[in-house]
Structure formats: C-alpha cells, structure tokens
C-alpha cells in the first residue's frame, strides 16, 4: 500500500488577511510615531506604549508565529494584552493635542470644494459592495486579488485605498496627512477600539471554563417545564440578558438554545424550530442594543460623535429594544406551537 498523499490546494491572494493585518499594524505604528512627536500630549509616552503594544500584535504577530511558534507568540500577546488593560485601567491613555482648523476655515474649505467632498466618503461603501460582487473571483495563476475567506474585508481595504487616493486628488491632502489626521479620531475612540477584541478573548476563556454549562444549570433551576409561556419568556429574556453580558448574540445563542429551547420547547412541546431560532436570535439582538459590552456598536459611536455621555446611544436604543423584546416574546408564543 502506498502512503496517502495529501494535496493541499493553497490559494494565495494579494489582499490576504495577513497583509491586511500588516497594513493595520503600519497604520497604528504611524500613529505611535505621531503621538511621540506630539509635544503637547499630556500622557505622551504611556499613550504611545498603549498603541505600540496593540500595533505590534498586528505587525509582528504572524511573523512571530512563523519564527517562534504558536505557544510562545500567544504568550507574549497575552502579556501585551494585560499591559494594555493595565495602562487603560490606570488612566494612562488620553487624547493629545491636535491642530484643528477653525469652524470658519472649515466652512470656507467646504464651500470651495462643494458637494464633491461627499464622493470619497460614498466611495467606501459603494466600492466595497461592487468589489465584493464583481472582483471576488479574480485570479491570475491561482493568485487571487482578495482573500477568499475574507472577501468583504479585503474589498473594504481596497475601497479605503481608492477613497484615500480620490480624497488626495480632490483636497490635495496626501494620504500621509490623512493618516496623521486619523490620530484625532483614533484617540477619541481610545480604549473602546480594543474592547471588542478583549471581549472575544473573554468569550474564549468562558468556553474553556465551561461557563455556558454553568449558566444552563442555573437556568434549569428556575424552569417549570409545563408552562409554555414562561418557557418562551425565559428563553427570550435569557437570550437578551446573556447577550448583554457577552456583548454578542452569537455567543449567547448556543448556550440558551441548547439549554432551554431544544430540550423544553422543541422536544418537550414540539415547537417549530425555524421561527424559534430566528426570533430567539433577534431577542439576543435586543440585548446587544442595551449593553456597553457591544462596544463597537454602542460605545465606539458615542466616542466618534463626541457625546458627553458615553452611554447615550444605549439610552436612546433601550425603548426600541424593550418594545421589540416584548413583541418577540408574544410573536414566538403565537407562532411556534402547532397544536
């Protein structure tokens, strides 16, 4: 018998996910240099260190896996993560000083360029969608333009590049100026930019620690398996609450559905699965609207929009979220039972 031959068909791509990470790494490191040059920065060195630690995970992460192996790489990344959290937790990361044109100057610039200013901004979404639809399969000798597993992200990267060039032509502000300008935005987002990744990390620890099973055990204590309405209420609010804790409905869905919906509703009362899971997931989304843990949706925008109250986006969303949660419960109760 001949030894089994494994053939791995590897596809290469120009905008591969690793290259995109490198690009993000360069962008962050550029901001680090700019921060170090900012003489008026109240916490110059610690802020620079904060972003340097973050950027090095992007810039050196994949290289380090190749050279040092996974175990060692994950260890230094883990240590970096702890240092990042410590720097942020001790209040060592702050805004710097920026040269912002006066409102009057901005108005006159806006008037000069006119509605053409919208073009690069609109190009980002349009180019992303068009490229995703049209260019995703383009390849020469099996070298693809886009990473086949991350087509949208690759298309977004390309779109940002194209929009940056269009902006250069239109405003005569170079891409380097653009990068430097983005420090103002990145600093105003600050630690919130890193929170989503931290939460993904916490989710990973919860999986290893089997936190989901513990929640399931806890929830089953409160269940009376005969009361259909209460089961539906428990499943939907459980989805919303657990999503609020995890910041992500995808993390809550398997736990709550395997813990409550499958054993008690589907197997116990013959509930129909398609509406059950669809409405259950939406109940989780109601939770996403109400939690600071969903930082990229709720906290980052508050920072981007310079809101005084970082929780104001959540506060505005709560009435809609609670109304929809109630509607979901009634809707689910109304449609999933066939008898």
């Amino acid at each position: 018998m001949s030894a089994p031959i494994t053939v791995t068909v590897e596809t290469h791509s120009i905008l591969s996910i690793n290259n995109i990470y490198l690009l993000i790494g360069f962008v962050v490191m550029f901001l680090v240099v700019k921060t170090l040059q900012d003489k008026g920065h109240p916490k110059r060195l610690t802020t620079a260190l904060f972003w340097f630690l973050f950027g090095s995970v992007f810039l050196f992460g994949d290289l380090s896996i190749e050279l040092l192996g996974e175990s060692l790489t994950y260890q230094w990344v883990g240590i970096s993560v702890l240092c990042i959290a410590l720097l942020a937790g001790l209040g060592k990361v702050s805004m710097g000083s920026y040269d912002v044109p006066s409102e009057q100057e901005l108005n006159s610039r806006a008037q000069r360029i006119g509605n053409h200013l919208f073009i690069p901004a609109v190009m980002i979404p349009v180019v992303t969608v068009v490229c995703t639809l049209l260019l995703s399969d383009i390849n020469i000798a099996n070298i693809y333009l886009f990473d086949q597993k991350h087509v949208t992200l690759a298309a977004l990267t390309l779109a940002c590049g194209v929009a940056l060039l269009a902006g250069w032509k239109l405003t005569s502000g170079s891409p380097l100026l653009a990068l430097g300008e983005s420090r103002r935005l990145v600093d105003s987002i600050g630690w919130a930019a890193i929170l989503p990744q931290m939460l993904a990390m916490l989710g990973g620890v919860f999986i290893v620690a089997q936190t989901g099973t513990a929640i399931q055990d806890l929830v089953t204590l409160f269940i009376s398996p005969d009361n259909r309405f209460m089961l539906v209420v428990l499943y939907c609010t459980g989805m919303a609450l657990f999503t609020m804790i995890m910041g992500n409905a995808f993390a809550a869905f398997p736990v709550m559905t395997a813990g409550i919906a499958v054993p008690f509703l589907i197997q116990g009362h013959g509930a129909s699965p398609a509406p059950l899971v669809a409405i259950g997931m939406y109940s989780g989304y109601c939770g996403t609207l109400m939690t600071p843990m969903a930082a990229n949706f709720n906290i980052v925008p508050a920072a981007l929009l310079d809101l005084k109250d970082k929780y104001q986006v959540i506060k505005v969303q709560i009435p809609t979220a609670l109304t929809l949660l109630a509607i979901n419960i009634l809707l689910m109760y109304g449609v999933i039972f066939n008898d």
């Binding site: 006119g114 200013l117 969608v129 991350h150 939460l199 990390m201 620890v205 290893v208 620690a209």
Partner: protein, 242 residues
C-alpha cells in the same frame, strides 16, 4: 441532578459589577478572564496563551481603523460642514425624515446582504449625524450641546437597529448560517436557511414600525427641548440684566 458548579460564573459577576462601578472596561474584562481561569484551575501560562490566541484570532474586529484616515482627511476639508449646509438647502427636510429615510434604506439593504454599505465610522459620523443636526439647526437655530448629543445618539441608534433587524433576513448572513448549523448539530433536520430567513421578517417589520414611530415623535421632543432651553436662557439673561 449533579452538583451545581457556580465557579465558572465568577467572571460574569465581575463583569457586571465592574461595569456598574465604572472601572475601565479593558481592565474589567481582563480581570474577569483571569478570575474565571483561576476559579476553574487553568494554569497561568495556558490562560495567557488562551488570551493571546483569542486576541490574535479576532484581529479583524479592528479593521474599522482603516476607514478613519479617509474620514479624517475629508473632515479636515469640511465634510461635516458641507453635509450640514447641503441639508440646510433643502427646505422640507427635518431630522425625523432624514433618520427615517436612512433607517428604511439601511434595513432593506441589510436584508439584501449589503451590510458593508454603511456603518458607524463610514456613514454615521461623517454624513448622517451632521445632516440630522443640520436639519434641526435649520429649523431651530443654534443647538445646545445636550440636544446635539440627543440627535447624534439617535443617528447612531438608527444605524444599529436598522442593520441588526434587517441582516437576519439575508440567508447567507453569518447568524442564519450559525442557527442552521446549530440545528443540524443538535439533530433537528428539515430546516433550511430560507425558513429561518423568512421567520426573521415579522420582527424586522415590527422593528421598522416601532422605530419609525419613535423617530416621528423625536421631532416634537426636539421642539420641546428647544423651547425649554430658550425659556431657561431667557430667564437667565433677564436675571443677569436685573
């Protein structure tokens, strides 16, 4: 029933209290992770490796950083001001109407899978929020900070709610595929992603109705807040004069 082991829940308790007491979220999350690992006896080195691995593997979450240079550049040349003055030139436009139209377009396009068509950094900050503010300023004059914040927060909320409740209709979206995979794993056969997508429609319509209703009332609320503010500032001014 087996003995209830509550130790893995330690992390959740820390997260809830940490947020409630307003500690820095990065610190809260790290401490919660460390405490959970400690509670279930994971040794420190492998906990550190889990931290590093999950952090590395979720790096795509930081991709919005790539959008910021373009937005920052355009803002330096007056994008927000232009958005405001452009909206001001349309007479019939109101904050509610702008947000409502955006909501409808965003939810429908999300249902068709065009999720990356908009988002907080690429559309809400540079375009939607300034336009909504411009429309309000058009009607009421200069807005005080708390009313500006209310309108901006509504712009952000519009994008979130519309995309969340639209996206699950699109059957190739991650959430739908996740649900489908979950059902198959748990031995529940005969469900297609299409069924799940169809059952997302009632809630999507409910979200549309509920939120458009709230947006319709936003106009009156802005009006009310402006009156209150003007009244207060007139009182203050007359007090200063007397």
């Amino acid at each position: 029933m087996s003995e209830l082991n509550l130790l893995p829940l330690l992390g959740i308790v820390i997260v809830v209290f940490g947020f409630a007491l307003r500690f820095n979220p990065l610190l809260v999350v790290c401490v919660a992770g460390l405490a959970t690992g400690w509670a279930v006896n994971i040794d420190f080195i492998s906990l550190l490796e889990t931290f590093g691995e999950k952090f590395m593997n979720s790096r795509q979450l930081a991709s919005f950083l790539l959008i910021l240079p373009v937005i920052a550049l355009l803002e330096r040349y007056g994008l927000q001001q232009r958005a405001k003055s452009w909206v001001a030139s349309i007479k019939s436009v109101t904050t509610s109407r702008i947000l409502s139209v955006y909501f409808i377009v965003r939810e429908c396009s999300a249902a068709l899978g065009l999720l990356s068509l908009a988002g907080q950094p690429q559309t809400v900050r540079p375009l939607l929020a300034p336009m909504a503010l411009g429309a309000a300023a058009n009607m009421h004059g200069t807005l005080p900070k708390h009313i500006q914040d209310l309108i901006s927060a509504h712009a952000a909320a519009c994008d979130n709610i519309a995309v969340f409740f639209g996206e699950d209709i699109f059957i190739a979206f991650g959430a739908v595929l996740l649900m489908d995979a979950f059902l198959k794993e748990n031995g529940i056969a005969g469900i297609e992603p299409l069924h799940i997508g169809l059952w997302a429609i009632p809630t999507a319509i409910a979200a549309l109705i509920v939120h458009l209703f709230r947006l319709a009332r936003l106009e009156a609320k802005i009006h009310h807040l402006m009156n209150e503010f003007n009244h207060c500032s007139t009182v203050e001014m007359s007090e200063e004069l007397s």
